[in-house]
């Protein structure tokens, strides 16, 4: 009998725990309910007169991804903003990984921020197509501080001409990074920094051959060169579309035709560029194949440890390069027909559901103001978004001179090129880009491994890819 009592007591205790947990839940539910941000958005809706001078306290929410340094830069920008507008509080939500998954659930739960950092290759356009974002063109047209012309080209993303869905905090372009010491030792003149002197593809391959060395010390030009045992590659370039798009554009090619109606990677200009990249790996053996590339660490380490002599990479690599203490520099990429660099960047978008569009716009301006993110810019990770930071010598020198991340070739090879020869990233204007690439990428795997020519591979999937071509965003 005693035992039974104990058992009953234990069960009652357990039930009490349930009850306590459940009631605690319910209580906190009602307590938290009204103060949850989505609800507070509605309650402060009355204060949304739209003017930034409004004295009612306003709360703005924004979501970002990024490293602690990047987040610190946003926080700095927000602090400046809050000082300027004391009635506005900004709630910064840092979603470090699986950003799109999280944002998708937030959209599903009607709990979206006022401003979100977005990426053109993922869910930005699907959201914009459903009318979830403000057209920032309206704000740009009315604004007295900035307009279309005061921003660097290609950092705005449009759903269609005249409908801007996002503005980037800073552009990123591509360059040819190299280890200066390696060029000195080999007695070869380094990559030119001026566009007018840029290497042709053949010149580039020739230099790369001289700098590709096997384990016995033979270069790719020497007889008996062993491409299976390469100690130092002439150049490394990832097989990401961000990198090879530079050469497709440079050769006059594109992902889709100018009218947006047909798949264009199987056209001669694009095929030639793709084939050249494949040959670089599989015929000339001056660049690691995708399989060998798994041995090649990040650009800064690869150049520092002399695994590669040159690397085609985004300008963000300068941040890492600046920290690895060695003599690196940057030149312009080789030119096929026209000098071009693809410009990639993230963007800030404003959700339509915001109760304070004008304040959100002011916040967005504060975020893209280079003055606020000066540390990210001088450390090398970002570039400024305002054009006068490139054209006004005094401002230009602020972020390009006497800095570890900005070697001597930087101004010519990166700064000048991005202003005059930038090309928008394909994710910004090719509709249905991901689905097209789902078909293209597997075919390109064979090209990079030298199993198929670019022409064969692209022809083989052209029909299937064509079915996914849905037009361009930069034409009506």
């Amino acid at each position: 009998m005693k035992r039974q009592k104990k058992t009953v007591m234990a069960l009652i205790a357990l039930l009490l725990i349930f009850a306590a947990v459940m009631s605690a839940c319910a209580k906190s539910g009602t307590e938290n309910g009204p103060s949850s941000p989505s609800a507070s958005g509605t309650s402060s809706a009355s204060g949304a007169s739209g003017a930034s001078g409004s004295k009612d306290p306003i709360k703005l929410r924004m979501t970002v991804w990024g490293s602690p340094e990047e987040v610190a830069a946003y926080k700095f920008a927000i602090k400046r903003f809050e000082t300027k507008y004391p009635n506005i509080k900004v709630d910064l939500q840092h979603i470090a990984a699986d950003y799109d998954t999280k944002l998708t659930t937030m959209v599903a739960g009607n709990d979206v921020p006022d401003i979100a950092m977005m990426e053109s290759g993922s869910i930005a356009y699907p959201l914009a197509e459903q009318g979830k974002f403000y057209n920032l063109q309206e704000f740009l047209d009315k604004d007295s501080d900035i307009n279309m012309d005061s921003l660097v080209p290609n950092i705005m993303y449009s759903l269609e001409p005249g409908n801007v869905i996002g503005i980037g905090p800073g552009p990123e372009s591509f360059g040819l990074f190299y280890n200066e010491d390696l060029f000195k030792e080999a007695g070869i003149s380094p990559p030119p920094t001026k566009l007018s002197e840029a290497w042709t593809w053949d010149e580039f391959i020739e230099v790369a051959k001289q700098l590709t060395v096997d384990t016995k010390g033979r270069t790719a030009n020497d007889p008996g060169f062993d491409p299976k045992n390469i100690k130092q590659y002439g150049v490394s370039a990832s097989t990401w579309w961000g990198v090879y798009s530079n050469f497709i554009y440079s050769n006059g090619g594109d992902f889709v035709s100018e009218d947006g109606k047909s798949f264009a990677l199987n056209q001669p200009a694009a095929v030639e560029a793709l084939q050249k990249i494949s040959d670089m790996m599989n015929v000339h053996h001056v660049s690691p194949s995708p399989v060998q590339a798994k041995n090649i660490p990040a650009t800064n380490v690869a150049l520092q440890t002399k695994k590669v002599a040159m690397a085609i990479d985004g300008q963000w690599a300068t941040a890492g390069l600046a920290q690895s203490k060695f003599n690196f520099n940057v030149g312009v990429m080789p030119v096929l027909k026209e000098p071009v660099t693809t410009v990639v960047c993230g963007m800030f978008s404003m959700f339509k559901s915001t109760k304070h569009p004008q304040e959100a716009w002011e916040l967005m301006k504060a975020l893209i103001d280079p003055e606020a993110s000066i540390e990210m810019i001088t450390s090398g990770t970002w570039m400024p978004s305002y054009k006068d930071w490139y054209t006004e010598p005094a401002m230009l020198s602020k972020w390009t001179e006497n800095l570890d991340a900005r070697p001597s070739g930087y101004k010519d090879a990166i700064v000048d090129v991005i202003l005059t020869k930038g090309h928008q990233t394909p994710t910004g204007y090719v509709k249905n880009f991901n689905k097209i690439m789902d078909i293209v990428n597997p075919a390109l795997d064979k090209v990079w491994l030298g199993q198929q020519t670019a022409q064969e591979a692209m022809d083989a999937i052209a029909d299937k890819a064509q079915q996914q071509v849905k037009g361009r965003r930069d034409i009506k």
Partner: protein
């Protein structure tokens, strides 16, 4: 035996309630959504009947068949490998050896190392030129492989990487092994039987309940393989590791076609259920419960 319906429901009620409250709703929701063109971002969702399923089976979506094939191949390779290897390791760990606490912990370690860190090590181990695996094959004068990086070898390579994560399967086997009374083995010894008789007559029959559990869980887990594609291969090369759930996730979240993804999910649900059902049915003939219970 006393009638137990009331007690049975009482004891299982937390679990049943939990299922009804937390699981049933989302399951029904996703089943319903699979009959619509639901996209999280669209304000309007329309009912489209079985269109999503029709699209799946019409052959229009060849990645559906591709990912299904890839996943089946993975399951067929992985399930026997996991079961056999983890049982063998569990037998070793169940021996009366010094330092087995350390050994047991080591076997479990890979399961708790964060995926980002272990992904780096697979990249290196399976590196065609500098990787340890090819170096080892080289010492034995065997030809190397391109492992994760070629179409033919990517699935076996992914299976290999998942074998590092068998810690929990081993632990469950161990718990099962530790429940076998010493006296049983002593009886065999009295009859003059060796280790093989012990294994055949005692260990294997006695461990069938845990073997059954591990088999079911490994099948369910293998069909839902996701992380390896998400972190290691992104479905490549040439879609050769486009695992079903990875494809489904891509459809639902990247391409925002959640209705279609739900249809994909329910097809997988039926497949997994079928396999689980088959194993449950056959278990009557091979799982031995000392409690005398028929499963």
């Amino acid at each position: 035996m006393r009638k137990g319906l009331g007690y049975g429901l009482l004891f299982t009620s937390p679990a049943i309630l939990g299922f009804i409250i937390f699981t049933l709703g989302p399951m029904i929701a996703s089943l319903g959504l699979s009959l619509t063109d639901y996209s999280v971002f669209k304000d309007r969702t329309s009912f489209i009947g079985f269109d999503n399923y029709a699209k799946l089976f019409s052959g229009e979506d060849d990645l559906f068949y591709k990912s299904l094939g890839v996943t089946f191949y993975f399951v067929i390779l992985r399930v026997p490998a996991v079961i056999i290897i983890s049982f063998a390791i569990a037998l070793l760990l169940n021996m009366n050896v010094k330092g087995r606490a350390i050994f047991r912990t080591i076997i479990y370690l890979p399961s708790i190392v964060p995926a980002v860190a272990s992904a780096m090590i697979w990249m290196w181990l399976m590196n065609p030129d500098l990787g340890l695996l090819n170096s080892m094959l080289g010492w034995l004068h065997l030809p190397g492989s391109n492992w994760l990086y070629s179409e033919g070898s990517v699935i076996p390579s992914v299976v290999l990487t998942t074998l590092w994560g068998i810690g929990s399967t081993v632990i469950i086997f161990l718990a099962g092994l530790s429940g076998i009374p010493q006296s049983y083995y002593e009886a065999i010894e009295v009859d003059g039987g060796g280790w093989y008789s012990k294994l055949r007559q005692i260990t294997i029959p006695m461990v069938t309940p845990t073997l059954f559990f591990n088999t079911i869980m490994t099948i369910i887990g293998s069909f839902q393989v996701f992380n390896e594609a998400y972190i290691l291969t992104q479905g490549g090369p040439n879609n050769q590791s486009l695992f079903y759930v990875f494809y489904l996730w891509r459809a639902g979240f990247r391409d925002t076609e959640m209705g279609y993804a739900s249809a994909l999910a329910w097809v997988l649900f039926l497949i997994i259920m079928l396999f689980t059902f088959i194993v449950f049915k056959t278990s009557k003939s091979w799982v031995y419960y000392e409690g005398g219970e028929r499963p």
